[in-house]
Symmetry: D2
Subunit: 140 residues, 4 copies
């Protein structure tokens, strides 16, 4: 997926809005994390008859929606509001961290939670790197 994202960034009329390497990485991890969270919610539904995974299921659903939306926003290169993008990235990072921390509680018992935690942490790291790139590009 990252190859196609990079190709699209290279061919967009006025060029990417920021350094394409951390941007492509962040877009790719947002979509990857959205998918993993949808899948982990589904897995948690089947395991969690005691209710122990309810919080995990719910945060998975939230994280899937947020990551998907931020992945879409970052896929648009033209006429951005930088304030919206940066605030969106910060919420995405917070949601990924929150979901990862919850998944971590169950990672020893459920391998899907372990994989989902890892995917959320990759997305968190990619959001933070892109936030740094934005900060470097326009120091306040």
């Amino acid at each position: 997926m990252e190859k196609t994202i990079t190709d699209m960034l290279r061919t967009t009329p006025r060029g990417p809005l920021i350094d394409p390497a951390p941007l492509a990485r962040c877009i790719a991890t947002c979509f990857e994390c959205a998918q993993a969270c949808v899948a982990c919610a589904d897995a948690c539904m089947m395991e969690g008859q005691s209710g122990a995974l309810h919080r995990c299921l719910r945060l998975n659903l939230d994280c899937a929606d947020i990551c998907q939306t931020i992945g879409r926003l970052l896929s648009r290169q033209h006429e951005p509001s930088y304030r919206v993008l940066i605030a969106g990235l910060e919420v995405c990072a917070l949601t990924c961290r929150t979901c990862a921390d919850e998944c971590a509680l169950h990672a020893a018992h459920y391998e899907h939670c372990e994989i989902c935690e890892r995917t959320c942490r990759s997305c968190l790291a990619a959001c933070q790197q892109l936030l740094s790139a934005f900060e470097l590009a326009s120091p306040r």
Copy 2:
């Protein structure tokens, strides 16, 4: 739509996570705003051959995605992360304000921009009222 939202909040197993009146209002305006922004983007595509509406089109697409996602998060009553919800509401308010301010520049010429501006401002106000309700419920 607000009637169905209120009914769902009334019948959810452990009750709504906050005062249901501002919550139902905010959920309803998030979905209403998402729809209006999708429609305004489509209208802007057809009008804006000079490029004057490109920024409006783009912010409409972002605002549609954000409002829809926050509307979904707020529709879930159980096992929330309040930090994620509050941060999400703040991004939603910022995006609605940004989109409304852009639509306002074109409202005199394009009635769909005027309607979309109004819808974004309603959603912004509903987000702010719900943020106040969260603050009252758990003073820091």
Copy 3:
């Protein structure tokens, strides 16, 4: 919400792609159904510790995603592919019927399932009416 949808349809540059009454109705019920299904999935998560509501939860999530997407497609008036719109409406109708039939099995015990069933059936009816309008507009 239907008022704003109708206003947007009235002011779109080249007019709505079909009779605006069934179109506005269908768009409104798609978004209403998406919201109700997200809420019902969340409620089912909390009730269904025996697993009896797992299928309901899952179909709710699918129906939320499909209705939301078809609501977005129908909100765009320009340069449509009628084949895609009609096929999309048919899937939306099928998904609403499937979800409503599952909700119906639990409606006696869970009021949120009863409300969700009703909302799915409204959306199903609105999809069917819009499909009829498309058929009248372009008899094969």
Copy 4:
């Protein structure tokens, strides 16, 4: 991304609903296509001041929404409605083909349309292969 999808399928409680190879491939291409279509719509907005890319922009938006939703449905392994999944895959294939055919008209002039066409055709092929796998699994 396909690696994470495959890992999630391997660890889901009751196993994937079908042969995991074409399933993982189809989920991955749905998300990849959703991203490429969002990016191509954004690029088309900036190029298409003559209106020649309006249809491309619009079909990109539709294809992004459909692919994303079908990618989510296929990420859920438990308690499916096979009829909904199959009908959803058929709409996804139709939408990808329609969008690819439109992109093809502009591929000689705009490299992003060429990349998007290729991505849509990959997703179309993956949907068709998954449809074949469903047919083999349950001959009518």
